[in-house]
Symmetry: C2
Subunit: 703 residues, 2 copies
């Protein structure tokens, strides 16, 4: 009987992938439009593939080296033998999620433009379906990978001894945590590399195109315009796909690991690890059903469009809320129904964070409008007010997550048994992410709409078409910020779960750990951990600045050396710009990523495991707050610019417009490079700590 | 014998105040220059006095209310009866420090301009002496207040019972902690109110003067110019004086409180509280001697000027390093000489933080130059690179403080007795601040130089004079950032000490406290605490933006309505601008200050004392990092602007210059309003928690 319900996980996976396949076939059946439109779309697609090819070969090298290190640690007895392989598959599937998402996104943009000729709803359908493919692929592959490893390890340990004589399920979940590390590593590279690519291209194109040459965004005369469009796909699609794959499986494996620790003594381990997996399957069904609620009518205002997307997300949430009651009840019975309340807390927290994000980043509300208004006194006040809005926007999500932590801990029974409370916190993250199939769809459709707009501009479509794609694009800024809110909100919860798993791991390995705030090593860890997200953001922002600078130089060169570009008589060398950003992004992503991996190991060796725990907590606290601030400042600046472009405070071309363009440009690396990488950073650091726990315990200078 | 050495504290106080008096007399003996110069200086002085008068009456109301609340708590038995009075004197002396500093600064600026007619060194001597008066007044009044309370309480408790039957010295130090709360409250109001005033006036004047009307900085035709100069005095002088008074006495009282807890069982309480007081007296002597090393020759480059100031600080540091060895040895003997190493750690950490700040904010080095270079691609890249520089500049101070914590904890013997380790951490902050007399002098001379430049500009002095005052002013940006580095570095250490004192207080009161990172309430406290500095900065930055906006409107009105201003035929209505900013700053400072005081009480009532501890720690971690980032970004932007103005990348009037002006304007509230308030915020929150501990324990909803 037990076996039966767990089978829902692979079944959910197959369902998600099948529905994604069906949507893809439906999208591909549509026309890409005129030859022009096809050509532009092809150029973007080629650039994106070229980037990913290069990215994956670079990352493959990293994975190869890490694999060897993990094998060496396994041989020395620090790790179970499956870990290196789990690490590889985590990385592989995370990368694959991004790749498939990008493959469909680059095939959907021209089709969206073409559909926009017919109606707003047709365009929305294609863009949103493309997003849904990505959302479902992420959850489908996530569940697939989780299922494969679960069944494989279950079969293996049925007839082989477990490491350290652990409980079988504990052995399984601790190996699975390590595939989380693979997923997180891949995700970090994808987010950082893709984020640097997309924003360097965007900023570079804007600086020299809009600001210097005075040509509009997405103008085909701008040599960096294709790179900019490629960027949307490699950063905002492939990067985000890998990122959310990581969040999704991370939250599930962390919950499984804590489940064994919490429910082992009650003989309910299997049930406790079944719950997150089956809940995920319920989420798949709910997300698929939710997609049917997303439609709009012509002449829809922003409000109506947003309502269309919200209908989808809300109906899925309600379905998950109902379904997970039965999942918890069936597995643990009514005596542990508190776990269900933990799920609800997470789900509710996700919705509230979404609403808060919307409030702070949509031009319908005061915060973004107030930024737009400061454009009247120039760029400096736009920057000050944008940072202030981002900073104030941290309050609600932090308080919401804080309440979710207390609610999920105490409602699931943490007062009686702290380990069950921590399981409750972990599963609240699963609750928040259970509707990922559809929330990711509302997020990933944005770049498709953005590219569709680019395609319309470059192929000189009538104004009406561009207006439709712009309507979709503007909304995309808000949904993108919402998606980042989910990623970071769930990351805070998952990171706490991972820190708890780290403590368990140290204790299993026989290490001592003192987590008191009055322990100077913990405190020092907290301080250094609190600083890391800042340094990380600094590195990635500098990388964007440097790379954008090289694009500016290249575009200026082309304007000078290729005669007739500005008059539209000669074609710019788009490919060269793509190449420059590709090479730079690859180079620049190395250092920040290595920092994430090296810092917990270094900290552990220099100052012991107490410091590592402090560091993970400090990074979670400041990373969480900083990530929200950066995502929301960036989103608000972008929409403040769009608000001015709609004709407010002087409209396009006014001094006010110039001022908001500065805000938008500053916001680019905030919201699409540095900010969204932070949620991965904090989880990756935790996973690295867990995987290297045994190594650190044996080699630390401060026992 | 014991009594004898403690008398050094009041003697040090008298020496500091006497030398400050001597310097003041010497400054006042110099001429203020021509009638013009005197008139301008008078206008600034009047504005500053008017502001402070208004500020103090507003703050008096707050102090009155708080006094009544504290009296009520005393009557109910929550607090010793002296606390309300200690609170008042802390506030009074903190305010007085700022007031005296401002009184002398506003009398020194015209004298500095006049001396600049003679030589650079003469100008430096006056500006620096003015700074030294402030530095010595701060330490002098600090030691005075500390001494009075110590002797008063010592006399009282000799014949009266202590509350809760505490040890006599414990009763004394716990009351003295509460006078820290008075100092911190006053300091927060002074920093926030003054910070809003100065930066709103500065930003407002720049926006409409430099950017719109195209007239230079400090041009007498700009109606906001006097307000801008007043701002330097009320924010950067009076605000900073109150701030550092708070840091100084805060670090000493925290150390005294932990000393009793740590050394009580060894019968060495009195010795342990003598050490910080006598070390402070040694610091007074060292600082006075250090001032004699500060002189420069004509045609001095930035490097030589900086070297002059450094000579003063370094020689003082060496004297303190030598002197405190004997202080520790005399009081605790060689068996506890580890305490001396803790002092050294703090002193060294202070110097290293200073050097790091200099590296990141001086235009001699790469970071600031790289910001200046990005001006070639416009304001957006200036902002991105400035934020990135600020973020990366957090690494060294955090690591330095982390090492100082570990070193002072373990070297003083924390491995054997954690409470002695915490005393070590606390005293390292005293070490860092022991040379405050001179470090504050190098910091407080900046605004005098800035005002001197303003005076030169407004009275149309020859170019040479302005160049000399500018040379002093530029250096002032770096030393100001250094001063902020000291304030925040010592704040991190003091805050940790205060958190430890809070825990002790809860335990004395019979409360239970669980400080584990795995306690969900602690975690929730950490998250919310980590968010508070962001929200606080958001509030203060928005306040600057709003107030600057109202200045822009007023200046535009004057340009329009008062005919002949631009041609210099009519005098603008300076006083009206001063009035507007005064009123606005008073209104705007209330909310953020109340947040600081209310949040720990609210948190305690809603979620218990564990959460409060978490909150204090979270606020310390993120406040520390954020404060460094904001101070250094701001300092670097300011100097990047000056670097361009020196003729680099196109010089004054170029597009590059416009871009760096945007950076400078954004940096203004970063470095002079939001950032420097954070160090007070985190300590005030801790002190409020301690003072209200008993109240919270009785009223919390989550025991």
């Amino acid at each position: 009987m037990r076996f039966d319900i767990l089978l829902l996980a692979p079944l959910g996976s197959i369902l998600a992938l099948a529905f994604a396949g069906y949507l893809s076939v439906r999208i591909l059946a549509k026309s890409e439009g005129t030859d022009d439109m096809v050509r532009i779309a092809e150029a973007v697609r080629e650039g994106a593939y070229a980037y990913l090819k290069r990215q994956y070969s670079g990352v493959a090298l990293f994975f190869g080296i890490m694999f060897l290190i993990l094998v060496a640690l396994s041989v020395k007895g620090h790790l179970p033998i499956f870990v290196p392989f789990a690490f590889l598959t985590g990385g592989f599937f995370s990368g694959l999620s991004g790749f498939i998402g990008m493959a469909i996104a680059t095939r959907s943009s021209a089709r969206t433009t073409n559909a926009a000729k017919k109606s707003l709803n047709s365009a929305l359908q294609i863009a949103f379906s493309s997003g849904a493919v990505m959302g479902l692929v992420v959850v489908g592959l996530g569940l697939l990978d989780l299922s494969i490893w679960y069944y494989l390890l279950n079969w293996w340990y049925a007839s082989h001894p477990t490491p350290h004589g652990m409980d079988k399920l504990a052995a399984i979940t601790s190996t699975m945590l390590c595939f989380g590390m693979g997923a997180s590593s891949q995700a970090l590279f994808a987010r950082v590399g893709g984020g640097i690519f997309t924003k360097a291209a965007d900023v570079g194109a804007d600086l020299v195109g809009k600001v210097e040459a005075g040509i509009p965004e997405d103008d085909p005369r701008n040599p960096a315009v294709i790179a900019d469009n490629v960027g949307d796909n490699v950063g905002d699609v492939a990067g985000m796909g890998a990122d959310l794959y990581e969040s999704y499986v991370g939250s599930i494996v962390a919950t499984m690991a804590l489940g064994v620790a919490a429910f082992g003594k009650l003989g309910l381990s299997l049930q406790s690890i079944t719950i997150p997996l089956v809940m995920a399957a319920v989420g798949v069904v709910s997300s698929i059903l939710g997609t049917f609620f997303v439609k709009t009518k012509e002449k829809a205002e922003q409000g109506a469009l947003l309502a269309a997307l919200r209908r989808g997300v809300f109906s899925s949430s309600i379905m998950v809320a109902i379904g997970s009651f039965f999942v918890v009840k069936f597995n643990l019975g009514l005596s542990h129904i508190g776990i269900y309340y933990a799920v609800l807390s997470g789900l509710a927290a996700g919705v509230l964070i979404g609403l808060s994000t919307e409030f702070f980043t949509s031009s319908k509300y005061k915060p973004t409008r107030s930024i737009a208004e400061t454009s009247l006194t120039g760029p400096a006040t736009v920057i000050i007010s944008g940072i202030a809005v981002g900073m104030s926007s941290t309050a609600i999500p932090v308080i919401v997550v804080a309440i979710a932590i207390l609610a999920s801990y105490y409602l699931s029974g943490g007062a009686g048994d702290p380990s069950i409370g921590l399981y409750g916190v972990a599963i609240s993250a699963v609750g928040m992410l259970s509707t990922l199939g559809i929330t990711l769809a509302t997020d990933a459709y944005g770049p498709v709409a953005d590219n569709a707009g680019g395609n319309a501009e470059m192929t000189h479509q009538p104004k009406e078409i561009r207006q439709r794609t712009d309507a979709l694009d503007t909304l995309g800024n808000t949904t993108a910020a919402t998606g980042k809110g989910f990623a970071i909100g769930s990351a805070a919860l998952t990171a706490l779960a991972l820190i708890a798993a780290y403590r368990d791991q140290i204790q299993i390995l026989g290490g001592k750990i003192d987590l008191s705030l009055m322990n100077p090593r913990t405190l020092v860890g907290l301080l250094i951990g609190g600083m890391l997200p800042f340094v990380f953001c600094s590195m990635t922002m500098k990388a964007v600045g440097r790379t954008a600078g090289s694009i500016v130089v290249e575009v200026r060169r082309q304007f000078k050396e290729i005669a007739g570009i500005m008059e539209g008589r000669a074609k710019p060398d788009y490919a060269r710009c793509v190449k420059i950003v590709t090479a730079a992004a690859q180079k620049e992503m190395i250092l920040p990523s290595l920092m994430a991996i090296a810092s917990p190991i270094l900290m552990g060796i220099l100052a012991g495991v107490d410091s590592v725990t402090g560091m993970l907590t400090g990074a979670t606290v400041s990373g969480f707050v900083l990530a929200i601030m950066m995502a929301n400042s960036g989103g608000a600046w972008d929409n403040a610019k769009k608000y001015v472009e709609e004709g407010n405070f002087g409209g396009k071309g006014s001094l006010a417009h110039k001022a908001v363009v500065v805000g938008d440009t500053v916001g680019d690396p905030f919201k699409d490079t540095s900010g969204p990488s932070l949620n991965i950073l904090i989880k990756l650091m935790s996973m690295v700590s867990i995987v290297f726990a045994s190594f650190i315990l044996s080699n630390t200078l401060m026992k």
